[in-house]
Subunit: 340 residues, 2 copies
Amino acid sequence: MSQTPRHSTERAVPTSADVARLAGVSRATVSYVLNNTASVRISEPTRHRVRAAAEELGYVPHAAARSLRAGHTRMVLLPTATHPVGPLHHQFFGELQWALRRLDYTVVQYGSLGLDGDEAARAWAELRPVAVVSLGEVGLTAYGVEVLKRSGAKAVISLAPRRVEGARCLVMDQREVGDCAVSHLVRRGRQAIGVVMPVERGLELFAEPRYEGARRAAERAGARAVPLPLSYDEDAAADLAARWPQLGLDAVYTYNDDYAMLLMRALQDRGVSIPDDTAVIGADDLLLGRLLRPRLSTVHIDMTTGRHMAELVDRAVRDPDRVPERHDLMRVRAVQRDST
Amino acid sequence: MSQTPRHSTERAVPTSADVARLAGVSRATVSYVLNNTASVRISEPTRHRVRAAAEELGYVPHAAARSLRAGHTRMVLLPTATHPVGPLHHQFFGELQWALRRLDYTVVQYGSLGLDGDEAARAWAELRPVAVVSLGEVGLTAYGVEVLKRSGAKAVISLAPRRVEGARCLVMDQREVGDCAVSHLVRRGRQAIGVVMPVERGLELFAEPRYEGARRAAERAGARAVPLPLSYDEDAAADLAARWPQLGLDAVYTYNDDYAMLLMRALQDRGVSIPDDTAVIGADDLLLGRLLRPRLSTVHIDMTTGRHMAELVDRAVRDPDRVPERHDLMRVRAVQRDST
DNA sequence: TTGAAAGCGATACCAT
DNA sequence: ATGGTATCGCTTTCAA
């Protein structure tokens, strides 16, 4: 094997030059054939030789080299959540990725657990993504957006509850969720309303706006909204339930259906009657809510399809200036069952 | 602005050459300073000028150019699940990413929904990852592994239930879960055991081995194991519950706790008594199981920490030949509560 | 202590 | 119809 200077197990990665050599053509021709370049005619026999050579060597183009030459990438970067954020988001993410790939983007999720917003933005920028779509997992700042744009990102889109300067802001205003829940409770005649807020890190970005909306709705109606921090475990729920009588509440909106289930069980174990003593409403309309007894009232969220979102991204990439700053991508409605 | 040939909103992305020009030094010096190259001494004033220039321009290095020059990347690619696969995996993934980043890897998740195993492998290979860690979301084939290795991946690690030729195989054998559940039921005196299998796509890779293990345990004990396909919705569960008496089962192992909750509710609504008529055991030991009445028995899974896994990856990258082919990363045990 | 220049892999312009 | 070659941004060897 006089050809291989390296250790045999570590044979070099084949390049287009290797393909060219094996096919007996130039690297240019290889490129034309493998990319089906329209502006150039290559004879059928040549095409065939090139393809066969590529196949034989197991040639895979080098994305970095390609994008370096091209001066841009087609990478869309999606920061990933630090916390499981529910089947809704999961489905949305899946659809979005699928749809973006159909539009010929390379979709990559980047976990940024433990990085602050600006560190994360710099790390993302090194990859030169053409677009970044954040659901608000990481605190994107105006500076972060600027870094990304300077690094060539055509579209920085935030679906975060909070507005971020410089980013195109496709809003999913989580305040509406809390507002909807509390308004429902008020309509059912409740006036002293607890609002369960998860203490889990990574959920604040959703929990706080939801509380904010709840507070707003209570205020509007002349009702009381009392924040109730709760961690997602049985003991914490039992503690809260033990304090329940002193709190003097006649209703509670929990962050989502999971927390509702947790609290309902603890309340029922203490003999609190639902909905007579305390009405309970969750959010996200998870299947489990329908399996509880009493059946759980909830806030149902209609989210845009990932396909729609992908089109928005694509439009923003093609023509950054022609996409409106704000969209509404979320509709909420209360679903009454037996717990309110 | 005679300097800027482009449209003003589309000013060029700053390169190290721009930094060099602004600082009045060469590109080499910029590289030395920004990478803290140890083998070269740069005067403090120069370092300062370079850093200031980089800051002012908002310079971010170009990962593609860097890795092209270096001849390798430090990217670890994690294919993402098509289906939400539970808080266990989520936590594991989070830890793994965090730990890998501490070891100076760039971690990227790649969603492959709708790609087959070989397409996916090629797409991943274009990014020239130094390692791929698959949880089995995508059917990795021997060919796929070969493509990745030829493209320079030092470590292709599969945590999949199934063994994949060529890949280092750090096994999380899901069969043990089903085996453990059914063995538990047999110990409790049950002989006719249903095994609920989710029909949701993307879960087969976990569901089938779990069933396989259940079947194996039943056979060993001279019991019956009956597969029961079930989709994750109320109506499907109600249908199954309606057919329950004819099935003649005295116990059921559901794929996981979520499916257990779904089925338990449907059975209870039909007046089936749990555990007297039918014992139920789930898996994954989710919090919700403890909130059900009767409390749900389950299979608890202890998974390796992400930190441990990250070390394994790192070792495999540094010295591909010195990492054993097989590890066990999972321990299971039955947790008895009130449903069995 | 700093700079000049080669080269990583792929592409696209300009010749032939 | 095909090939030669400059180029993208960065690192690193060698020279000064």
